[in-house]
């Protein structure tokens, strides 16, 4: 395989980035990602189940996230729940995307697009 370059994944789709963000705190299962994304965005981003799981499938394929072999919560015996966490590559890509967005925000601020912007 080619040498891994986080930049080759940029720019990420909003959905992919949201998922990576949600997993940045630790392992989560699909439904919890859904709730997290929804609550953080205040309901602005509503993930459809189909969108979420297809995105998860892609992220798995690209090795940006991985499935846990066992449940981190021993009290839950629900075997159907799969837990996901970021891989090292996932962290690198999320970081690169955040950096890219930061650059864009800075550029927006410099052009006085953000309220309360300092010159």
């Amino acid at each position: 395989m080619d040498k891994f370059r986080a930049e080759s994944f940029l720019p990420l789709t909003p959905v992919a980035f949201e998922i990576l963000l949600a997993l940045a705190d630790g392992e989560r299962h699909g439904y919890s990602i859904l709730l997290e994304v929804e609550s953080r965005s205040g309901g602005a981003v509503a993930l459809h189940a189909g969108t979420l799981y297809r995105a998860l499938a892609r992220l798995l394929e690209s090795d940006l996230i991985e499935e846990l072999n066992e449940s981190p919560d021993p009290s839950s015996v629900d075997e159907r729940r799969r837990y996901y966490r970021l891989t090292a590559r996932g962290i690198a890509v999320a970081r690169a995307e955040a950096g890219r967005l930061e650059g864009q925000v800075a550029a927006a601020r410099a052009r006085r697009l953000l309220r309360g912007a300092k010159v």
Partner: protein
């Protein structure tokens, strides 16, 4: 997370929606997604349902059309339209291939163009005649009302005027019922240059309003406006008055009356359709030049014989048609029941005239085109079969090609193309062929429709309303797409299931085609032969019927006869004046060079309508409503001799049977045998008319039967009186000539002008023309079905040839081995022809079964043979077997000549 549990229905719907995802995805995530769904707290069942639908719909679109497009992990930089890209690539590939194999392409497109074009053309006719609405407002609610003569089983008999008025007054189911005379009247239009004929039609004054049509120019009749006015048809206005808008308000002199022109109807307005007319009438013409209002009182009513001696509207003579509009929510059946109730009331009130008369209600569209419907549906079914055969042929060609391209497909599969991808490419190709065929088919359709309209006999209703409109184009488009998919699906499926490894190895050895393909091809041959048997059987049955009809002896000599109708000058009102005129007329026409003899009658056979009368027989008292009914005509001058009708018994009329002599009649053989069975008819005395009180008429002779109503109609009882004892006003004249009767038309017209300038001759034609027109519809249908039959035979031959050639070329190596091992070439021939014969035999058997099932549907079109005509059912399949075997002979001979060395060297 206190989730409200979802209902089972919602869950089931969601599970259903999940089916849109690929199986691997479902296996991995499905349970989890269902779980999430159960726990989610969003929305109501309704919104969930909608979300589910949306999810499913968008998933199907995404996964099938843009399998690689969404959701991207990263935003794609360029715009990706995988679906369109693939389509473009497939089309490019198909076009390249099409150009590389021009013969194959041309054949395929031609077959499809003929199939699709002819199908669309026939559909255009069916659409124009059967499906388009009649040119009236809300035409589906219009019904025709008839008297039902239960004793003689004539359910659609005209009404009498008095009964019509009662139905109009008493019915509770109709929103308006209007009447018309069930015949077209040739009226005399008086102009400065002489008298000419104008075909007029009488309707009650509210007819146009009830039909929901207004005049294009001027106005129609107002209610109660019942004399002194006329409305013109668009065609007549343009033809006769040059489309002059100042015609409105002018006064025309028609049959001695002054009529003011109220208006001109729009070009699309037709009333009546020939199906709405009754069996009796003055002329064979059904196109109308002008409409006149019916008066129920006053001089016009007297003129039209609407009133009896007591001044009451006539109840015992039937010549009224009626058309009405069903009230909202009322069905044809309810209206029929209502009409029958009224009829039975009338039966009780007027037993003398109304006993045995019930009522019938028929939808107007049925009344107009009902007679032609079975024939047109036969055509549609026939062309459907031909289209299927053409498609089967094309499918066969494509299948053959897909076998030839097996290596290409295997290579594609080996390089990673999925089954769906290969099937999709092949389907794109076949649809492309179909589209090309459909476009070329439009040209075929355009010409076919024009040809069909030109070929159609004049008495086929509504042919002038046939047009290529959006419905026809839509149907053609759908036919094209469907054909494309149907012809493509077999080859596509068979190619998609290619096993690349086996194929690539196999192909290198030079034999191709698996067991499945062999079965497919055998199926195609069987299907083609079966369909061809079905179509040709139908065509053969129609052909045999046509031959029997044309071989019918009409009872008189149809060659060298010229016939026309004419109206006496209106100034001749008294009997003696008319007789003097006729004496002079016949003498002068007889003296023309080339004339053998001349005569006349009031209704000419094979083309005119008829008129009937009831007869009382001396010494056989019967109540009025039970009197037998016979055809009533007059014989003028040397009518029987001119026609070549033999006098069987008694004598012919002679000049001594004058107006002052005792009344005499000549009857035909059918009347003699039916009314006087076992007795000598000559010498019997009869009285005609419903209320006959006058002197008795003595039967002096019996004349041979003729086919009056048409070649297929059995002879009816006929009674002739001499014109000397009742001179008619608008007779048909028949003229026997030495040479070609058509050559005499101008001589006759010129002589008529010299005799009297107010003597219009019209509807002039030879009896041979009438005879040929009597079978025109039959000939038209036969021609088309015959063409289908020929096409079907050709397609079957090509189909069998194609498949057998393919089989032979596939088995080249096998044949080579056999030959090398000492097989006789003749054995090979027998083997291959035998195989074709076996397949064709199965096809013929299936085709016979189809024909036997469908043949009864042809009954309405058959004459003189049974629908299970043994000769047809033996000869046609035999012919098909022969054709199929011959078609297999060519490739079989090729197999015989295979050089074993060359065949084996291929390896």
């Amino acid at each position: 997370m206190n989730a409200r549990p979802r209902s089972r229905i919602a869950e089931a719907l969601f599970s259903l929606a999940l089916l849109a995802y690929p199986r691997a995805f479902r296996r991995h995530f499905g349970a989890e997604m269902r779980d999430d769904f159960r726990r989610s707290t969003l929305g109501t069942l309704g919104t969930l349902f909608l979300n589910g639908i949306r999810e499913r719909g968008s998933s199907i679109v995404r996964w099938t059309m843009f399998p690689n497009a969404t959701p991207h992990l990263y935003v794609p930089t360029g715009r990706h339209h995988m679906f369109l890209d693939t389509l473009r690539a497939d089309i490019r590939h198909a076009l390249r291939l099409a150009v590389k194999t021009p013969v194959f392409t041309a054949l395929t497109v031609l077959a499809l163009a003929l199939g699709i074009g002819a199908t669309s053309a026939i559909f255009a006719v069916v659409n124009g005649v059967l499906l388009q609405s009649l040119p009236y407002r809300d035409d589906s609610r219009l019904v025709n009302l008839w008297s039902n003569n239960t004793s003689e089983d004539r359910p659609r008999n005209p009404l009498s005027p008095a009964n019509f008025l009662d139905f109009q007054r008493l019915n509770t189911t109709l929103d308006g019922l209007e009447g018309y005379f069930t015949f077209v009247t040739p009226a005399q239009l008086q102009t400065d240059s002489g008298t000419e004929v104008a075909y007029s039609f009488f309707v009650t004054s509210n007819m146009f309003n009830m039909l929901g049509r207004t005049a294009a120019l001027g106005r129609t009749f107002t209610i109660g406006e019942d004399s002194g006015v006329v409305v013109l048809s668009d065609g007549y206005w343009r033809r006769r008055f040059g489309g002059d808008p100042k015609i409105v308000g002018q006064v025309l002199s028609v049959s001695g009356q002054s009529l003011q022109v109220l208006g001109v109807m729009p070009p699309d307005f037709v009333f009546p359709y020939s199906g709405m007319l009754g069996p009796s009438g003055f002329t064979r013409v059904t196109g109308v030049d002008m409409w006149l209002p019916i008066a129920f009182s006053g001089p016009m009513a007297v003129n039209n014989r609407m009133l009896d001696q007591a001044g009451q509207v006539v109840r015992n003579v039937h010549w009224f048609g009626a058309i009405g509009r069903l009230k909202n929510g009322v069905s044809e059946l309810q209206a029929g029941a209502d009409a029958r109730t009224i009829a039975s009331q009338l039966e009780q009130s007027y037993p003398e005239t109304n006993r045995g008369w019930s009522a019938t209600v028929v939808s107007s569209i049925d009344q107009s085109v009902g007679t032609i419907r079975p024939a047109l549906l036969i055509l549609l079914a026939g062309i459907g079969f031909v289209l299927v055969m053409a498609s089967v042929n094309v499918a066969n060609l494509l299948l053959a090609r897909s076998i030839a391209r097996e290596k290409e497909m295997a290579t594609r599969a080996a390089l990673g193309a999925g089954r769906a991808r290969i099937a999709r490419q092949l389907l794109t190709e076949s649809v492309l062929f179909a589209v090309a065929g459909g476009l070329a088919g439009m040209v075929v359709m355009w010409w076919s429709v024009r040809g069909l309209i030109a070929l159609a006999p004049a008495d086929l209703p509504r042919m002038n309303e046939v047009a290529v409109n959006w419905q026809v184009l839509l149907a053609a488009g759908l036919t094209t797409m469907l054909t494309g998919i149907v012809v493509g699906v077999l080859p596509a499926l068979s190619s998609a299931s290619v096993n690349p490894q086996a194929s690539l190895q196999d192909a290198s050895r030079g034999t191709v085609g698996g067991a499945m393909r062999r079965r497919l091809r055998a199926g195609l041959v069987i299907a083609e032969v079966a369909l061809a048997v079905a179509i040709t059987t139908g065509a053969a049955l129609l052909l045999r019927s046509f031959v029997s009809v044309t071989n019918v002896d009409p009872g008189f000599e149809t060659t060298q006869l010229l016939t026309w109708q004419m109206n006496l000058p209106p100034r001749l009102t008294a009997g003696p004046e008319r007789l003097a005129f006729y004496r002079d007329f016949f003498a002068r026409i007889e003296a023309l060079p080339g004339v053998v003899s001349v005569g006349g009658t009031t209704r000419v056979p094979l083309g005119s309508t008829s008129v009937t009368t009831t007869v009382q027989i001396d010494g056989r008292p019967v109540p009025n409503s039970g009197l037998p009914e016979v055809q009533f005509r007059r014989a003028m001058h040397n009518y029987f001799e001119t026609m070549g009708m033999p006098i069987r018994r008694g004598r012919n009329f002679d000049p001594k049977d004058s107006a002052t002599a005792p009344p005499v009649a000549v009857i035909n053989e059918t009347m003699a045998s039916r009314l006087f069975p076992g007795h000598e008819a000559v010498g019997q005395r009869v009285r005609t008319g419903p209320n006959a009180t006058g002197p008795w008429t003595t039967i002096v002779g019996v004349v041979g039967d003729i086919r009056h109503g048409g070649l297929e109609e059995e002879p009816q009882p006929e009674l002739y009186i001499s014109y000397l004892q009742g001179p008619p006003v608008s007779p048909f004249i028949v003229l026997r000539t030495v040479g070609d009767p058509a050559a005499l038309t101008e001589t006759v017209r010129a002589e008529a002008r010299r005799i009297d300038k107010n003597l219009p001759l019209y509807d002039m034609r030879t009896m041979s023309t009438l005879r040929s027109e009597a079978v025109a519809t039959r000939r038209f249908i036969l021609l088309i079905v015959g063409a289908f039959g020929a096409l079907a035979l050709g397609l079957a031959a090509i189909g069998v040839y194609g498949v057998m050639s393919l089989i032979v070329s596939e088995r080249t190596r096998e044949v080579g081995v056999r030959l090398a091992l000492g097989a006789q070439p003749s054995e090979l021939l027998r083997m291959i022809v035998g195989q074709a014969a076996k397949l064709s035999g199965i096809g013929v058997a299936i085709g016979l079964a189809i024909s036997l099932t469908l043949a009864p549907l042809l009954d309405s079109q058959l004459y003189g043979i049974e629908s299970f005509d043994p000769m047809t059912f033996i000869l046609v399949p035999a012919a098909l077997l022969l054709v199929a075997t011959l078609a297999a002979l060519v490739p079989a001979r090729r197999a015989m000549r295979i050089d074993p060395l060359a065949a084996l060297r291929i390896e």
